[in-house]
Symmetry: C2
Subunit: 749 residues, 2 copies
């Protein structure tokens, strides 16, 4: 069906995209054809009508952790897998998940105002009125507290914002800060606020970011209405995700638990999220100088720093009991290489009704599972074991995936080949981030999955976007994929266990302002997002194809020249980062020595010089550059060996491995474990749970990735003395990776 | 006094700025000391209290062209000059200056709304209630019209905005456009709108630009209140400024005049300016897709393109009679070189009370005049003739300066050495733009004028700002000055007559939103701008010092190596511009050929490919590069000759020229005329009034300068066939300039 459509597209004047005559990566000519035949069958199965009806069902009631419908959804999903013919079960954990008992935000000076903290029912939206079952608007893992203080506006509340405040002589000590959502993982905001002495934190959704500025507000459009609130976790995820009480181990019944007061990932100060309707009176009451241009939001007011005269009283009290979570785990057994696991997941818990997040991704996964089940019934037998998961407790902090990964860490380390994640779906472009050894596979999959709007391949549409943006990387062999930070369930797999991972989803064409609110529901999704569910089908096709190729390949389809080209870029970035930091700090020192900050401080709006840092020395990048050379060389050797294999691989029977069976088995073992060589068992400097030396969420970004994080954050944070050591650690990892590749190359010969 | 303060600054720990022991540029050791002594006396005279009381007087009533108070101010200024001992008179012209008879903006669909078009009285502000004398809110030189059409939002209404509209498939044919103020000279907006078929144009002040976003609104702060309106001319100034009926000649009583209907600089469609209070209901009623992020303003609405459903009815009718303008012209005769004129001006007409614009500059000029008069009484005799002017009719279109320059074109061509302009004053940094042969003089003057807030020199404060911004140009010998576009009275001098010019004024520390409104008055200025008038005094000191050095120098203080270094930069910019255009157009063509625009057009918000241009060929920059080499060489030769002169110049009596008298006279004649060599008698391609080959206002920017405008605009506008010819014209100009410098260098030996 896909092939027909592509040929038709060629016939009507678009550039023809003929199906590649070359074998798929990891397959020889014969096995490639067999694979393509199964994939064609697979692609025809996912059904937009089923995606729609499953979304309606799964988002019919609020289904957050601990709610009746959360459990009910897990059980329904389990039954689905069983009905598809999978071997499925529910695995349960007991996790710390605070829910609110008391919430108050009131301005006590210069005038009185009490925040509503309530999202109103919208008449046309049938699920918006389920107030009895909805979680109130709050931030999970906020400390309990009852505090009063002057209010200070801190922009996004990230470290550079506090540098600006300090230069203005504005302190947040003893104050309650109000920060816009955005610019970081939300848990960064109270963390940095507390580091600077604030006693409380409000986070609001500015209409310039996801309110009326981008379009009509719900229910007239997709954007956030005045009383819409973004719930969300404020745990210190960049330290570790998962249950705060059981770092590094599964939160099983009898796990050893920290006391709540000792859990390091809870906030130090109380935090509440508010709407822009509630925020406007508070912001409007702030005095002090007007903020810089890039701090301004979309409210019709002068944004000012404070502190005061607005004073705010903030109360947060939670029920700190443990709650159960329910992960659904389902398997199709591998035939010849059952001890190699391909894992795929999407969470099922939502903050409220969660239609876009996570159900739009969850239903795509279910349709993949149904299709794979169908294929299995028709005789398809994947070489490797396929494990499909529906995680619970992702919203509070990747609980379901983290606790399961920690519980099964040894098996996963031994058996996992790759983890493929999604976390919802929209309309537009197939966005993929992940391990760069999978970049080529992603390109091959995108080439073979059609975009439902433009009827060109999803690869071509991504290339076209790069072309339209004048981005020359569109001219490269493979389109680049991004690196993974955090914010979804891939984190324990890639960053804790070193399992090659991908995150996939469509998006980029629709604005939205219902994230983590009661309005992220079936009504919203079917009016303003992938309303015909054709992108849901495309996501099923894209992820399903990726899973099948990983599960069926004769040689696992990792391509390490892509990885090496990426690490080469990172090294260049880090060298430039050092030079930029050096010239920036030198310039600041020169300006201070010249008295330039004093002379340019406006007496009506005085500013202080920046804190002076020492100029970084030159670092010893040599070991890393040597390791990079080794990696490139080994990756090339592996490619040569692979080309030789693919040209000369003997034609064998379907279902049996091609090539020398024993040797191939060893090679595949090595390939499956290659990502593990990039781990440091001791972990990153300030957060040992994170062990991957190439990818981590930034300690002060949370969502945003820091690549080669040990080196990069040491340079960013001015820890010059640590840089050479961090360079050595990454160099050793690349050398280890090169060693594995050299071995695998030898094995393929 | 200045010297003492600088030494004191050194003593308290700032870098000491000792007075330069080196002679001033253009003077030898002895004449330099004499000059410095007179300058010290000059600097002590300007008095903030007088600046304040003169501002109060001159801004006491509305004083636009044709008003009683405009004439009264001119006569008062005349009397001041006479009382200062100057030879002064008023020169009058009769100019076309339409004033409104009928103004209407009403929305007729989907709901009815009538715009107020009226700025309200503010109780605390005593002059805001002078409604009988205030010009209504309007745009001078708008065509008369009575039109109704659908409304379309066009962002700033500049050509690139219409490219975006075209890509969205939105036409303005038959529509009324609404544009934000900013991004260009306001006259560009109706010009471009009419070029695209619009029938009417509204221009409004967005609160994101100069309203509440930047601070409290008047009278609580300096920003534009909801009903505040920016008046202003919409004549096509980039075609020619001055009286629309008398291009190229003075608008004297008996001048030959065009019929109003034939005047090319009037708008083709009716235009009115409105407040954001009046704009909000119109913008809120627009349908169509939401605009791109960088089009959004500060109103609490979703900005949309239209067209419609809002329909607007716009009526503009004016009284098109001639009005008189009154230029005040005052002289101090030169002693030994009376036929060389140093001219200085600032206009005196305002749109309403005009305290900041223009009175803050006008009073600084008056204090210079008083101080120079004092010096004259004490025995100071400038070598050259000094002409101080107070222009009328600047606001409608540089009328007073243009008509005077055109009337006296022959004398000015023969006698003028330089023109120094100001157009108001604020608080902060001394901003100077102008002829780059004067760049070094500006640096020397800034070194010797103290900043009243920081007590460092205005030069150091500018260098400090560059240091704080990490701008490496702070490390160059001289700080760069900008080039002149248009928007004030220097335009006829530099761009029509080729007289080396400067524009000077302080600013950069205060936001403001009263430009061209009734709130630009004494109350506003004395609450929110240079409230103690110390920057007014500093402007008097800076401009007065510049005038004195030009008038007293033995060798005119032009330094052409600064000019040559600037033209070298411009050539580099133009070469890169060609390459950028080539790669941008190539990229667009590639994307079109690949079908990339079609594939990435969002079906819910479709876009068209951009209009395809041809890729520019390579241009022949060789003649220009050769000319540049000649210019650099000649400028260096002149510097060597000057150094030899300044080392060996004989010590002579004060008042007499130093060096060989006859030879120096010739050299100074050559230097005074050097800027004239940069003119093309035939003018720029599409606007013969503009004759300067290095500096012109952009045809589609109006205020913003285009340097080497013939070449640059040909490349920007895709007129590939004209570029080589324009390169030749500039090359010849630089060769002419080099020839003059070589001659001057020979004369100095």
């Amino acid at each position: 069906m896909r092939t027909q459509i592509l040929l038709a597209a060629g016939a009507i004047g678009l550039l023809p995209i003929a199906p590649s005559p070359a074998p798929l990566r990891g397959f020889n000519a014969q096995s490639s054809q067999i694979e393509r035949d199964w994939e064609a069958k697979f692609d025809a199965i996912p059904d937009p009508a089923r995606l729609r009806s499953m979304m309606q069902l799964l988002s019919a009631r609020p289904h957050h952790v601990g709610s009746p419908y959360d459990k009910q959804n897990a059980e329904w999903i389990l039954q689905q897998y069983k009905s598809f013919g999978w071997d499925a079960h529910i695995e349960s954990f007991d996790v710390l998940f605070p829910t609110p008992k008391e919430r108050l935000v009131e301005m006590v000076a210069p005038t009185r105002f009490k925040a509503a903290l309530q999202e109103p029912t919208v008449a046309v939206d049938p699920t918006s009125g389920q107030h009895d079952e909805q979680l109130p608007t709050y931030n999970a893992y906020s400390a309990d507290g009852d505090v009063t203080g002057p209010l200070v506006f801190v922009n996004y509340g990230i470290p550079s914002d506090y540098d600006e405040l300090e230069r203005r002589g504005i302190s947040v000590k003893g104050a309650i800060v109000i920060a816009k959502y955005g610019g970081s993982w939300r848990g960064i905001k109270p963390k940095v606020a507390a580091e600077h002495g604030a006693v409380g934190c409000l986070i609001y959704s500015d209409p310039g970011d996801d309110g009326y500025a981008g379009g009509a507000v719900f229910p007239n459009g997709p954007m956030r209405p005045p009383q819409g609130v973004q719930r969300g976790s404020v745990a210190d995820m960049p330290t570790y995700p998962g249950d705060p009480l059981t770092p590094g181990v599964g939160a099983t019944k009898d796990a050893k638990r920290l006391a709540v007061k000792d859990a390091p990932t809870l906030t130090k100060i109380p935090v509440l999220p508010i709407s822009y309707g509630d925020a406007q009176p508070l912001l409007q009451a702030l005095g002090g100088p007007a903020v810089p241009r890039d701090w301004r939001g979309g409210l019709p007011i002068t944004y000012r720093f404070g502190a005061g005269p607005a004073r705010v009283h903030l109360v947060v009290k939670s029920d700190w009991s443990l709650k159960p979570i329910y992960d659904v785990i389902a398997k199709i057994p591998g035939s010849t290489e059952a001890d190699q696991w391909i894992i795929r997941g999407n969470h099922h818990d939502g903050w409220v009704n969660g239609a876009a997040d996570p159900i739009s991704g969850q239903v795509a996964e279910l349709e993949e599972a149904r299709a794979l089940g169908e294929l299995y019934k028709q005789g398809w037998r994947p070489k490797r074991t396929i494990i499909y998961t529906a995680w619970d407790g992702e919203e509070p902090g990747l609980l379901g995936s983290t606790e399961w990964s920690e519980t099964h860490a040894d098996e996963l380390t031994q058996h996992a080949v790759a983890y493929i994640n999604s976390d919802g779906n929209g309309r537009g472009y197939l966005g993929v981030s992940g391990s760069h050894s999978l970049e080529h596979l992603v390109n091959e999959v995108e080439r073979d999955v059609q975009d439902p709007e433009s009827h060109v391949s999803t690869l071509k549409r991504n290339e076209d976007r790069a072309l339209v943006r004048g981005d020359s990387s569109a001219m490269r062999g493979d389109l680049r994929i991004g690196a993974l930070g955090s914010g979804s369930d891939y984190t324990p797999f890639i960053q804790h266990l070193g399992i090659a991972s991908l995150n996939m989803g469509f998006g980029g064409e629709d604005e939205s302002g219902i994230y983590h609110s009661i309005y992220d529901d079936f009504y919203w999704y079917t009016h303003f997002s992938d309303t015909s569910f054709v992108y849901g089908r495309a996501l099923s096709q894209a992820v399903g194809t990726t899973v099948m190729r990983l599960a069926d390949a004769d040689v696992l389809p990792f391509v390490f020249t892509n990885l090496a080209s990426t690490t080469r870029r990172y090294i260049g970035e880090l060298e430039r980062l050092r030079d930029q930091r050096a010239s920036q700090i030198s310039a600041e020192r020169r300006a201070v020595q010249a008295g330039a900050y004093a002379a340019t401080s406006d007496p009506r709006d005085p500013t202080q010089p920046p804190k002076l840092e020492t100029v970084p020395p030159h670092f010893d990048f040599a070991p890393l550059l040597d390791a990079q050379d080794s990696l490139e060389h080994a990756a090339q050797r592996f490619e040569s060996a692979y080309r030789a294999w693919s040209t000369h691989a003997p034609v064998v029977q379907a279902g049996a491995p091609a090539g020398d069976e024993t040797s191939l088995k060893t090679v595949n073992e090595e390939l499956a474990h290659a990502e593990r060589t990039l781990l440091a068992p001791e972990g990153l400097a300030n957060r040992p749970w994170y062990k991957h030396l190439l990818y981590a969420p930034g300690f002060y970004t949370g969502y945003g990735v820091k690549t080669m994080p040990g080196i990069r954050e040491a340079i960013e944070q001015g820890k010059w003395g640590e840089v050479n050591h961090e360079i050595d650690r990454v160099a050793k990892a690349l050398e280890r990776e090169a060693g594995v590749l050299a071995q695998a190359a030898a094995g393929l010969r």
